[in-house]
Symmetry: D2
Subunit: 270 residues, 4 copies
């Protein structure tokens, strides 16, 4: 299966401002690319790349005054298979977890492990460990939280979502991630392209799509408390502790979003 | 100048629990050690070490049921010079900052950049950039916040400190760090030993001492909004985005603090 | 000057639910009514009236399953004069305030006096007491807070507004009220009709318009941090400590807003 | 049964400040007084009394610079019977509640009905209405929340208590009150003397004791989520929506607590 990926993000810049963008596919997906994955900038200012502590490919540049446009169009090969549902994988005791997964058990900006731990125990402490417990978390969040763009606000935390019971993609994942961490299951936030999704929204910088991953047995597994069913065509872009780490763009000064279009469409092969 | 360093931390463990401890001196200070810096455990359970994404030397072990004691005693050589006050260093525009400092401009659990940015601009936007601005942040926090152990709570964030105007060491630093980040100055949280400090406190896991560092011109500089004057004898242990990253001990289950003693005493040379 | 007042509020009711409505003009304006101020209900269920502790005329009824419509149309005589700007009135020391104004110095749901008092002193403590200080509060809130329906959420408090710097009418007033209380100036929340305003919005129950009053010298004076200039044609409906006390409608169970229209139009006399 | 009641509250006053004190027994208990219930002030500044909207007897005075002492000693007759446990009383539908009880269903400063309603439904929605449900609320709060003076902070709300699971008297009651209101049971906060209780604490202004009342069938009933068992010798002083309404003392400026002693002792009759 082939997926056409692309975005067109435009900002109005009142004064020169540094921007960091996480708009490339994650290194693990680079072998699947059928066309180059290049960030085009108009005007064509210099871009420097770096890899952050999570392994994400980041781009930084100085946006000049005026309109700036970030765009790409690329093609990626995908298995076309839905997310795996690993019903029989084992939850490792913390002591057996790989060291690099431990940071995904800790508090982060939007995932207040220290404030939700009592609640998580009460809701999920009786569910068998492992995938069952992760599934129970996703089911709970999916059923209890109402989706709506009107409910988005960029300071919303997992506790806010638990209390307010509404939000956008990222809010669903933040709450589920926090519950998992409270239960000693490493969980990390993911941004990426998700098939069928085409968003043309003017307001504030929206993540492409967000889901999360849990570490069980010997690897990370895809979870999605927003959709809560296996999906086809996810293309991972970046991972982090929560949305603070993997914002599509972070501007260190004023940058007013003027356009935001994301494309992720299946295209006929050959 | 020689400093005797040590700690004696004891927990009562109701059921086996994984613990991660950040109790070693930071790699940059290893050359100054005059005696080995070894984590002693009683009972003597196996310890595995790893280095986290911030370069901290971390120890992990499975604490068995019963009392467990973490302790060390070591000796370190110190310049005996007070913290440098770099009055003439330049604040780099974000675009010129080293890539690895950028994460210290972002939101983290206890440092809500996204909630304090308007406030930071209003309070410090008129101060000249660079060290003056950092000093103004430290002065403000030092003058406005009242120190007291009674005001400690482990979920307290920079915004809470701004509103409540009281706290312990870590709270002073969290607020100052957040202000710096809002002003596009990379700032990171530090734990360590601080000369003259001897704490024998029963209550909850306390950090040794906390201060912070800002990145100006070409390196990290020591700051301390709690004491707000140059000090002698700091021994850096760990750095992170905030206290969530560098807790002295993180236990993934119940562990009741039974003793907490830290020693940092100047000793005669030779 | 004559003003045609009216509203048409509709709810979809999934199961019978008790509703309290504060939709009448305040007792002080009853002498100005040129037509009766009657709450019409369709279907025509019985309404009982009561006066709450603030002197507001409240209506209560049991809404049956299905659509319910609350409406009125009435005519009121108004002076046509803009809000008075009492530049020379004196701020009474708390000890001289009438006892019944003291409750408007206290904390309430959306006005956290206990969390904003340090901030209020810093921002306004140097301004001369009395109207000047009130005006400084209104100026600050008016200039710093951005209006937008997208920013509305019913749990938003004064501290949230101070931090987020955006909101709707009620948010502007909540922040200004809280600052005034912090400065020992009694301040109360007001709902009412405001000339020129015609709102046809589907989303969630919106207050008609909101402003506030401060007690200086010997009476309550009208203030409005949202518009921050004298207006003509305010018709007071209800007063309280904050929006929690004077919601246009409070339903004690599910009631989905299906229509909300408010009319407040000047009409030719005679 | 006779109970000796008294208090000795002292403040250090840096500059003259208005104070309101709610230190008298509630009007319903006046007939039981065997000795006058007089507020003594040293120095003997004039006191004015007023009754607030909740029917509480309030005292106001201007405290001069220096030390001020509030004290009383009085004697009251008590039935000596424990709190009634009205297992068979009926919970009125909101539509049948007396109008004056409706305000005790609303949001207030420390009782965020709008943030805890989902949680209350999930925890208690399946329990039969009426006393059973109130008892379930008290049981839950009593079991889940840990008592400790170290956990006191005056800005702590019901949601904070739900999340942090610790607090003092008032915190237990705030959470239980909020749950009851979410369940459409009018609930109000109470301060008073409670037999066996003798507190000599230096820190911050503490309420004497706090409990709450719910309105079921035809009257208010005593509840106490802190002790959660019938007690003898409660002497009601004041009622309100939450602790903001009935602080023992409210000072409108700085007043540093220097002593706080409360006495409530059974004494032999005759």
């Amino acid at each position: 299966m082939l997926i056409r990926l692309g975005y067109d993000i435009q900002f109005e810049i009142p004064a020169p401002v540094a921007i960091v963008a996480l708009v490339h596919v994650f290194p693990t997906r680079v072998p699947d690319l059928q066309e180059p994955d290049v960030l085009h900038l108009e005007p064509d200012v210099p871009v420097r790349e770096f890899v952050d502590v999570f392994g994400n490919r980041c781009s930084r540049f100085l946006a000049p005054k005026g309109r700036i446009r970030l765009s790409t169009s690329t093609l990626i090969k995908d298995s076309g298979l839905p997310d795996v549902v690993p019903t029989d994988v084992r939850q490792l005791p913390v002591d057996e977890l790989p060291a690099e997964t431990l940071q995904f058990l800790l508090n982060s900006r939007y995932c207040e492990v220290d404030r939700l731990n009592h609640i998580a125990s009460e809701l999920f402490g009786h569910i068998p460990e492992g995938w069952d417990r992760v599934q129970a978390v996703c089911d709970w969040v999916h059923q209890k939280v109402t989706f709506g763009y009107f409910f988005a606000r960029h300071t919303k935390t997992a506790l806010d979502v638990y209390v307010e019971r509404n939000g956008v993609c990222r809010d669903f994942q933040h709450l589920a991630i926090t519950f998992c961490r409270c239960l000693n299951i490493p969980a990390r936030y993911v941004t990426g392209y998700l098939g069928d999704i085409r968003i043309d929204l003017p307001p504030s910088p929206m993540d492409f799509s967000a889901w999360f991953e849990v570490y069980l047995e010997d690897r990370w597994w895809t979870c999605d408390a927003r959709h809560n069913r296996p999906r086809v065509g996810r293309v991972l872009m970046a991972v982090g502790r929560d949305a603070a780490d993997v914002a599509i763009t972070t501007s260190f000064g004023q940058a007013d979003l003027a356009n935001f279009t994301v494309i992720s469409d299946e295209v006929p092969e050959g």
